[in-house]
């Protein structure tokens, strides 16, 4: 199978190891990965700022760049959700848009739902806490959030759990937001940082060595707070965990 890799702008520039890891994981499952180099950003920052006019050209560009692929895979739940759940405001009715929406996947979702992967390969003998990134969890439905009274299934957790030797530690608040929230991180700096500190406290108490998540944005924020607070936690994208287990 051939898949186009959609690498969010901040991952490309600031945390490329998550995308490199995603390539390794996908290729280990026999996927032919292509990287359309004309891609830049999905436009979520502008859209969430309310500036639809600034976001629209980026949505159109995204459709042009990715419209021709049978699958688009992204190591971010938030940016995937932007395409699937928020592009209607800009692209409703555009030729190829419905197909693009249906064929754009977050990495774990692609592994589980499209490739039918039931067990991740390799060993990862560490104490890991899974931070549930909100948009992947609640907008994409990668799992059932704690507010809902439904059987607790979770694609990311299920994948990680199959790694040899992994110890997934439970959190007191299993899916509270980290406080990043895009421009919120700066506009509401005080609340954002306190939310981050509280998540780090929860992960620390759970005895985690490594915090993992489907979104680099959450990790960048949490890592920034943890480093300032001199907490010894390590932060790895889910793709990095899966790739390191392959090694």
């Amino acid at each position: 199978m051939r898949a186009a890799l959609f690498v969010p702008c901040y991952v490309d520039q600031l945390w490329p190891r998550a995308a490199l890891a995603a390539v390794r994981v996908l290729e280990s499952h026999g996927v032919e990965v292509v990287f359309p180099e004309d891609q830049t950003c999905c436009g979520q920052p502008m859209s969430n700022a309310g500036l639809a006019a600034a976001a629209e050209p980026l949505a159109r560009r995204f459709l042009e760049v990715f419209g021709g692929f049978e699958a688009v895979v992204c190591p971010s739940g938030s940016c995937t959700s932007m395409v699937r759940n928020h592009y209607d405001a800009f692209l409703a009715g555009a030729p190829g848009f419905e197909k693009l929406k249906a064929r754009t996947f977050e990495l774990c979702e692609f592994l589980v739902d499209v490739l039918g992967v039931r067990g991740a390969r390799g060993r990862f003998p560490h104490k890991v806490a899974l931070h549930q990134s909100c948009h992947g969890l609640r907008e994409l439905g990668l799992g059932v959030p704690s507010e809902r009274l439904l059987p607790r299934t979770n694609k990311v957790d299920a994948l990680l759990r199959t790694l040899g030797g992994i110890d997934l530690v439970p959190l007191a608040r299993p899916d509270e937001c980290c406080g990043f929230g895009g421009t919120f991180a700066v506009a509401e700096e005080a609340v954002s940082v306190l939310m981050g500190k509280d998540r780090i406290e929860d992960h620390t108490r759970a005895g985690a060595e490594i915090v993992t998540a489907t979104d680099v944005s959450c990790l960048m924020h949490l890592e920034g707070v943890a480093r300032r607070e001199r907490r010894p936690l390590r932060f790895m994208h889910v793709a990095e965990v899966l790739a390191e287990a392959l090694a």
């Binding site: 809902r148 924020h221 480093r227």
Partner: protein, 463 residues
């Protein structure tokens, strides 16, 4: 009161709240306790999610037939002997209530919990006209004694520690100094309120639901204060927003099961009082208030918010509300639902509220009537931007970023520059006062190469 209407809006008020970190944490934990209790209560109801679906359908239906249902309610209520009054706005509401009271020479009123009368500023209005209104819900009485508005729609005094309530009661009610035992304080309040109940000449209540088919109104309390306040005086005035209407009594079987569990984690409120017509020898007046609601109904982008049954679950689950407190929103209804309602009513006055959210979506996942709260917050952001209420700096900055992102070469150059700056600039410059991110957080450690640079180097240009 520190409010979002003050300069700086929600971020400034929230920063002030967070500055006292132990207190912000305590507030967070108090409300998380309620969230946790709600989770456990909801988990004991089979088919909770189907109940939410049913509630959402009932609320959508009621909204769609609002005018018809209100007229049906009026006819039935009148047939039961109640009087129905219509108020277009807060001023009319207050004038109607004042007229009813002054015509009967009433000087002392007891009131059970009503966010609508808070919204209309009824206490101040009547107070200025020589009528004393005593709030009889314990939490509301606490904030009333303190001269503050409620900070939460279900727990009006959630922001106060018991020691502070003890000090307040010592000053206002003459309790022993240093008394902070919740049970003893509650007893003191009960004694104090009992006198007010006995002296009251009229009782005002809010309305949780008005039933069109019966013409009855339903009030939910935990303290029985609505019953007490309407059983002793001969005059009962019930004030309700137009959206409180439900078609049939049987719909309460859905909504009441969700309300208390979502609000406090109780299976049901201690008292669910149905008022259908006046008591013998008494009067029941129902004041039906619009005050901006039909404008919301006319706007497809926000009408979903009218489904709200005021359970407060979105506040208890909101990680921002828990850490910034109700006052930081500067409006009568705070939290996610309040941010939508306030911004839809007066965008200019509440321009920071739709941004007081990370859009985590916990609110809509918990909402018992399934309002798409985070989706509506996003809609409000767009409305603000369309009306030019997003700061020029942010608008210009975002346009610039969007322009760069729309041109691959510019994007790649900007990315290289950013990584270079992160690597080379001295810390003193990098973490200058302009860097809001870096005040209490490190910037990411920049990689040598972007993903695409590595890709090009190792795989050549393809795809």
């Amino acid at each position: 009161m520190t409010g979002a209407r003050a300069t700086g809006g929600h971020p400034a008020a929230a920063a002030e709240f967070v500055a006292n970190e132990p207190r912000a944490r305590w507030h967070d934990q108090a409300l998380w306790f309620v969230r946790d209790k709600r989770d456990r209560a909801a988990s004991l109801v089979p088919d909770w999610e189907r109940l939410r679906d049913a509630a959402a359908a009932i609320r959508a239906h009621s909204r769609g037939r609002l005018a018809d249902l209100l007229e049906e309610f009026e006819a039935k209520a009148v047939a039961c002997g109640a009087k129905v009054h219509w108020a277009a706005d807060a001023a009319e509401h207050n004038a109607i209530v004042h007229r009813l009271l002054s015509e009967r020479g009433v000087r002392r009123v007891v009131k059970s919990k009503s966010m609508l009368t808070e919204e209309c500023g009824l206490n101040e209005y009547l107070g200025a006209r020589g009528i004393e209104v005593v709030d009889t819900d314990l939490g509301e009485r606490i904030v009333q004694l303190a001269g503050e508005p409620p900070s939460h729609i279900i727990f009006p005094a959630i922001h106060k520690k018991r020691e502070e309530i003890g000090a307040l009661f010592h000053e206002k009610l003459g309790t022993a100094e240093g008394l902070a035992d919740p049970k003893a304080l509650t007893e003191a309040a009960r004694g104090h309120l009992r006198e007010r109940f006995l002296a009251a000449e009229a009782g005002i209540t809010g309305v949780n639901f008005a039933v069109a088919e019966t013409g009855g109104v339903v009030v939910c309390t935990n303290e029985g204060n609505a019953d007490m306040g309407t059983s002793l005086p001969r005059l009962h005035i019930a004030c309700m927003g137009v959206e409180k209407i439900v078609p049939r009594l049987e719909h309460l079987a859905v909504l009441l099961r969700l309300l208390a569990r979502s609000a406090t984690g109780q299976p049901i409120t201690t008292y669910t009082s149905h008022f259908q017509g006046p008591m013998e020898g008494g009067e029941l007046h129902v004041v039906i208030v619009d005050n901006g609601r039909s404008a919301l109904l006319a706007d497809p982008s926000v009408r979903g918010a009218l489904a709200c049954i005021r359970c407060g679950a979105c506040m208890n689950t909101c990680p921002v509300f828990r850490r910034s407190g109700g006052y930081s929103y500067g409006w009568v209804v705070p939290g996610p639902i309040g941010s939508i309602l306030a911004s839809a009513r007066d965008p200019a006055a509440h321009a920071t509220l739709p941004f007081a959210s990370t859009l985590c979506g916990s609110c809509d996942a918990i909402c018992p009537v399934k309002i798409d709260l985070h989706g509506e917050l996003l809609v409000q952001r767009r409305t603000l931007a369309a009306r030019g209420l997003v700061s020029p700096g942010k608008r210009l900055g975002m346009r610039l970023v969007a322009f760069v992102l729309a041109h691959r070469a510019l994007y790649e150059a900007a990315g290289r520059l950013l990584r270079l700056a992160l690597r080379r600039l001295p810390r003193s410059l990098l973490y200058g006062p302009w860097n809001v991110w870096g005040r209490r957080r490190e910037l990411p450690a920049p990689p040598e190469e972007s993903f695409r640079e590595t890709w090009r180097r190792t795989r050549g240009a393809r795809g």
